[in-house]
């Protein structure tokens, strides 16, 4: 699977490291250890350097994601609109802390510095869907919407 990614980039070019890692993460949802080694060989850097980059940037994760990813915006505008409370409520509802995945692998809860949708604060996103002006009361409904199992499409 990585070979397909590597086809798009010139080998031994150190500058493509971040882009390659982004593509790998796009496929797996995280950066598996063996993939990091392959990427290191491909760009011609020691694994330690690749690991250094992977841990520096917030986007990269070394553990797998849950089925749905909830991102709670913790920007200034959201903060003054009480997003800390929203986060706390989701944390209690899912029984995880920010940055963790629920045991049934249904949800991963993350915080993000700013989504850039400050005009409709507080904002949370679930996968690619945005929810603006979120009230604490709406949270159970939002969670319910995503926790019902998806129908298998044959």
């Amino acid at each position: 699977m990585h070979k397909k990614i590597f086809e798009n980039y010139p080998p031994k070019d150190k500058s493509v490291l971040i882009a390659v890692l982004q593509d790998v993460q796009h496929i797996y949802g995280y950066l598996p250890e063996n993939a990091l080694q392959e990427v290191a060989d491909f760009v011609g850097l020691p694994l330690s350097r690749v690991y250094g980059v992977a841990t520096f940037y917030n986007q990269f994760r070394l553990t797998p994601l849950g089925e749905n990813v909830i991102r709670v915006c913790r920007g200034t505008a959201c903060h003054v609109s009480n997003s800390a409370n929203i986060l706390f409520n989701i944390e209690t509802a899912l029984n995880v802390k920010a940055g963790q995945t629920t045991r049934d692998k249904k949800f991963t809860l993350e915080t993000v510095a700013c989504i850039g949708a400050c005009s409709i604060a507080p904002v949370i996103t679930v996968n690619d869907d945005y929810f603006g002006k979120v009230a604490v009361k709406e949270i159970p409904n939002i969670l319910k919407k995503y926790s019902t199992p998806k129908k298998q499409i044959i």
């Binding site: 490291l17 200034t76 209690t92 850039g116 005009s119």
Partner: protein
């Protein structure tokens, strides 16, 4: 619809292999190289169609920026399409970006053939059928959701630029935002796009372009406010076979979203600005470093680059002038420090995004050691307008040291959230109260936070400060990227300081000690302020609380003076401005152990109001620590030792029976 590439006859020979230097002028005035009445008619017709002056079907514009989509613009569009199908009406549906009035999204404009374009706000799927019935079927104006119309006012329906939100604004950067289709290059050209590039490439030498930008007084809009012309001049004077130009779209400041909006709503203008910059300094490769958190902006940019290549506006020998320019997108990976220019360069090179000491400045030795110019999205969006509107005109707007306009992102506790563009020299009061509409829910204004984590919180008494780089510095804030977060009496300033320090602490790259360790110590001190020691009764900690405050000012000064990059140097700003303007509030937390705003949870006490409690038991069920007890249908009570002050009971109570003090 036809495009400018294929509208003409065989006489037009413009292609990427053999570009024509008159192509841009030809599109709007054409054809210029040959005389053919038929072609002339076709060009005119296409221009009229693209500027929406002539069309047979009703045109429906739907604002689909991120804020529009988050407010449900896609659902509105689906409802409109379904309604049109049901009524069997044919219409053109156009996607536009964000007009700036985010509080009123989703915004839908409707233009009937031969009539003025009318803007409607808060168009939810519920009102779609009424809206279509009134406007397209009955050809009237739907009064209830009317926002403004383009063209002269009539029957009490105001022009959109005369409504309170837009009245005091001056649109230079945001001119096209929300008005044109950001995905179509033809629309951009028909609205006067790439004219500045055409003028620069064919009539100006590199030095002349740099001098024009210098004379216009344009300064970097990313925060620092360094004169753009000077930066370009340094880079131009460097002798090197390869130079680079970079657009900094790593808008990490929480509370700022103007770059996102510009990239989503008018990406061609940014690319045009970069082309002009590239030509001026002699760069043949450009990068746009965009946050990965802005997927829509990246998609629109990719589309823009593809179209520009197809039209011969990117690539080799642009417009037959021998100027080569290639543009690449680099996706950021979520590091706030990468907004700093040397860190951004490191990130493009594929390294950890850590800043380097300057000098050498990037204009001398930047990306891969070559001269590099880095400008912000808004700066680049200003560049074509300097040439379109004229250098003198641009230099005439604003104050003595700051020229042009500035886009602000209004958010927080304010009525009209959204993007506003005002000339430099406008007072903060005008921006917040006249344009922003003041504070909702009859609350009292407390502060406005300007400049993100590097800026400061300004109270009511300095609201008459005018917007320019110098004045904002004198009151202890900075322009920053232009996020304005308004705070009301329910916001606690100690909590805000804690919030920003946590942010800085998380985002500090760790390279230099003052920033890495200093901000950590500052955060510890601030965290101790609202801490309650009721349970532990630890005297030593109480002492530390006061000791910390004594050292806070000095610590902040040292961090400011000794940090390596802008992130660290400006990190103490939120604290310093807080101590300067909101000392009372800090003291109230320290000595009275109270938080009037009701934010610092450890200083609050929750009690049940016996008169209001109906004994429904909802709060007891919701309480995560089982601190609420009581018989059914009897007033409940809270066990204070167990209470973690999470506020769940307040949110769940239907009778407002929980008192917070």
């Amino acid at each position: 619809m036809k495009t400018f590439i294929d509208v003409c006859c065989k006489e037009c020979w413009h292609s990427t292999e053999k570009p024509c230097d008159q192509f841009i002028r030809c599109c709007t005035e054409g054809p210029l190289c040959h005389h053919n009445p038929d072609c002339e008619k076709k060009f005119k017709q296409l221009n009229r169609e693209l500027t929406y002056q002539e069309h047979n079907l009703p045109v429906i514009f739907i604002g689909k920026g991120t804020c529009g989509l988050a407010s449900g613009a896609q659902k509105t569009e689906d409802a409109i399409r379904a309604e049109l199908d049901k009524l069997n009406i044919k219409a053109i549906i156009e996607t536009t970006g964000c007009v700036g009035y985010c509080a009123k999204e989703p915004i839908v404009d409707i233009k009937l053939p031969g009539k003025d374009r009318v803007s409607y706000c808060e168009v939810t799927p519920k009102i779609v059928s009424k809206l279509i019935q009134k406007t397209i079927v009955e050809k009237g104006i739907y009064k209830e959701n009317f926002l403004g119309k383009y063209g002269p006012a009539e029957n009490g329906y105001k022009n959109i630029n005369d409504i309170d939100f837009f009245k005091r604004q001056m649109k230079i950067v945001l001119e096209n935002c929300g008005v044109i289709d950001p995905t179509s290059i033809d629309t951009y050209i028909a609205h006067g796009g790439f004219k500045a590039l055409d003028k620069v490439l064919t009539h100006r030498k590199q030095e002349e372009v740099v001098n024009d930008i210098l004379a216009s007084g344009l300064r970097g809009r990313g925060g620092g406010g360094f004169p753009t012309g000077k930066k370009w001049d340094f880079a131009l004077k460097q002798k090197s076979e390869q130079k680079y130009i970079i657009c900094n779209a790593d808008e990490g400041d929480p509370g700022a979203f103007m770059d996102r909006s510009v990239l989503e709503s008018d990406p061609y203008k940014v690319v045009e600005g970069m082309l002009i910059g590239g030509y001026a300094i002699g760069a043949s490769v450009g990068y746009i470093y965009c946050r990965a958190e802005y997927p829509l902006a990246i998609t629109r940019l990719e589309n823009t680059i593809k179209n520009c290549k197809q039209y011969g506006l990117l690539g080799k020998n642009i417009l037959g002038t021998g100027f080569n320019f290639e543009l690449k997108i680099k996706k950021g990976a979520g590091a706030f420090v990468c907004g700093e220019e040397t860190a951004l360069i490191a990130s493009i090179e594929g390294k950890r995004g850590m800043p380097k000491p300057r000098p050498p400045y990037p204009a001398v030795s930047g990306l891969w050691g070559k001269p590099t110019v880095i400008n912000n999205v808004e700066t680049f969006a200003n560049v074509p307008q300097v040439f379109n509107k004229g250098v003198e005109f641009y230099a005439s707007i604003g104050t003595k040291t700051s020229k042009g306009t500035k886009v602000f992102a209004l958010s927080g506790k304010i009525r009209n959230t959204g993007l506003v563009e005002v000339p430099m020299g406008t007072t903060l009061r005008e921006v917040v109260f006249d344009i922003g509409g003041g504070i909702p829910n009859n609350k009292k204004f407390k502060a406005v936070q300007i400049g993100g984590p590097s800026g400061g919180c300004l109270p009511e008494k300095v609201m008459d400060t005018v917007v320019d780089y110098e004045s904002l510095k004198t009151v202890g804030a900075m322009m920053g990227s232009g996020g304005l977060v308004v705070m009301d009496e329910d916001t606690c300033m100690v909590d805000v300081a804690k919030f920003f320090l946590t942010f800085i602490q998380n985002e500090s790259c760790g390279k230099c000690v003052p920033c890495r360790e200093g901000t950590k110590r500052m955060l510890e001190i601030i965290e101790k302020i609202p801490m309650s020691y009721k349970n532990t009764a630890n005297k030593v900690d109480q002492l530390q609380r006061f000791k910390g405050i004594i050292h806070l000012q000095r610590l902040a000064d040292v961090i400011k003076d000794t940090s390596l990059c802008g992130l660290g140097q400006s990190a103490p700003n939120p604290i310093l401005s807080g101590l300067k303007y909101f000392k009372d509030e800090y003291e109230e937390h320290l000595y009275d152990r109270k938080c009037t705003a009701g934010v610092c949870k450890e200083l609050l006490t929750f009690t049940v109001n016996n008169d209001l409690c109906e004994g429904c038991g909802l709060c007891a069920r919701k309480c995560p620590v089982e601190a609420i007890m009581g018989e059914k249908k009897q007033a409940h009570y809270i066990i204070q030792d167990r209470c973690i002050r999470c506020g769940m009971c307040v949110d769940s109570c239907k009778f407002e029976a929980i008192d917070v003090e």
